[in-house]
Symmetry: none
DNA sequence: CATGAATGAGTGTTCATTCAT
DNA sequence: TATGAATGAACACTCATTCAT
């Protein structure tokens, strides 16, 4: 039915790619496993053979994506040199949103859901990614209360994520650098320092 | 099943309140009309009698909520006096998030969805609310490109919304003023000016 | 799709009748809810609206059937007069098997299943029906150990049930009385006394 | 996945043993080939390599089991000496139920199923085993109508089987001899003679 | 206005079966 | 001989929607 997969693990990846794309557009609940399978070009049974359940598939996507995201954020931080850390983080997040807008939308849509289900995966996303921003804020102003640092970190994160999605959805002609400049301009001098 | 409603429109309101609460927790697709009816304490048929369909119910909730939100944002702007406009907007948005966290979550979860369905309602939210922020940014820096003003506006909006949700979910002991101060601190002096 | 049901509760009864008939033929697992609904002449959703789940439907059938069966066995016992109690029981069981062979097969097929699921209902069948036979055995020979009375009771029960099913499946021309005579002949004088 | 089988046919036997055990507990339809393979410690493909299909596996189990059972019943009959034939049969059946309760349950559960599928195998069981009992009844009372002999034979068979299962499920402390005595007591003097 | 029994298309999941290795 | 990844038809169950009352 599908062209024979040349690479081992191809089925696995096809399914993940299809799922991310569809969930980004319609949300988790509104995306059916049928659609995922069809988009991936595999049989529905293959989704279950490879992931066990729809929820597990989503959890795996979330975990994998967030691991990659935090890793790239930390790498950007390490390579920041004398650029302000938060600027480096915002730039990298913007680049990630640009490169993988589907995953960015999934994060934006699900990260503040408080229902149960894959809550653990969501919690993980939140803690992992937010912590990087909070830490950068705390580093740049050691006098800040830790709770405030987390809130400030989430503000920078939210500003960048929402602006990034606005960019892609409504002003896709802008370049990464233009958007980054605009976002940084909206942020405090502490961020720009 | 429920005591007869003395007030006309009581059923209507019970249904909306129940729907907002449930949709905030589970999302639109994952919330069933059965649950809405049960939570509202009315028969399922009443939901259809009053709203026609599940999608219409959601659209009405969105429209009503966004109307209230933009009205309060504009009012805050008008009453800002010599306080910086964006600070007034952020403060008001924070207050709205605090007073109606369920609706705030719905907005956060659905606002960047690009699928069809109730897209029109969503578009409306986006345009209405974002425009207020973009306008305030444009006013505070007339030299700014309009596209950049929209992106910057969405950055301020995103910073405030995400920080507000972070606040409610993980640091609910903080007061509105503390959170506002922290968010403003993360934003540029242009915002604070 | 089906003729309008004249009687309240008609849907309920149609479903039960269809389910008993099909389960008797194919067994519980091999009978689909689709088939039950189609046979009953109702929509699949109606099965769930009325019974909640396939397992609950089965449990309800079992409970209802066993209640009717034990009631008729006890009635036969009370009306036995000076006929030997076990003969009266065997006769009544034979009559029930004849009148409702579908339910008899279900009992025969499922009563010694030890898996979980609707085990409680099965246990109930066993205890209720077997107890009537065990009690009759115990009454007819007070010196018998209670455990032996239960085993003997199950022997009489098994003899009658299996002979009854054999009768219906392979020698349907025989009359109830002929079969009862033959069964009693195979049983001890204590039974016949 | 499992250690390589040293003995030829080991896989074959492991699968049969696993299948009998599982089918006895859950029934045929509720037992999956996956479970059978896992319990047997072989790959799923091996079940198909060795048996062709799930139905064929079941038919083979039934055929093999019934062949063994009837052989042992006939042997017991031949070795009965001057003990009453039906007593010898009941004793042997009881011993078989005790030694292989899983298979006994399968027989009890499936023997009166009238659906199609493996009906032929079932028919075979019925005819083979029942015939031994019917013949013994006929021999002990040559005046009996052949149809009545079959019914009486099934009565003795049913009494013994059900009592045997009752024994194993609820009074496992009883010995074979105790149970046999109790069953024989419930049966006619013709049986005991 | 309000109800809730009934519906049937659609959902997540299972599973007997196939086949390239 | 044996494997296990892949399949797709079939399954139990859900749910938005309708309608007679």
């Amino acid at each position: 039915m599908s062209e024979t997969s040349a690479v081992t693990g191809a089925t696995h990846r096809q399914i993940i790619d299809a799922a991310v794309r569809l969930i980004a557009e319609r949300g988790f609940s509104a995306t059916s496993v049928d659609e995922i399978a069809e988009t991936a070009g595999v049989a529905k049974g293959s989704v279950y053979y490879n992931f066990g359940s729809k929820a597990d598939l989503f959890a795996q996507i979330l975990t994998e994506g967030i691991t990659r995201l935090t890793a790239s954020l930390r790498a950007a931080l390490a390579a920041a040199g004398d650029r302000p850390p938060l600027a480096a983080l915002a730039g990298e997040l913007l680049r990630q949103v640009h490169d993988n807008p589907a995953f960015a939308k999934v994060v934006a849509a699900e990260v503040f859901r408080t229902g149960r289900d894959w809550q653990d995966s969501i919690r993980l996303i939140h803690d992992e990614a937010m912590a990087v921003f909070a830490q950068a804020v705390a580093d740049s102003d050691p006098t800040l209360d830790p709770q405030d640092a987390e809130i400030a970190g989430s503000a920078v994160f939210g500003a960048t994520l929402v602006a990034g999605l606005e960019w892609l959805a409504f002003h896709p002609d802008r370049t990464v650098d233009q958007v980054l400049t605009t976002v940084l301009r909206a942020l405090t001098p502490d961020v720009r320092r």
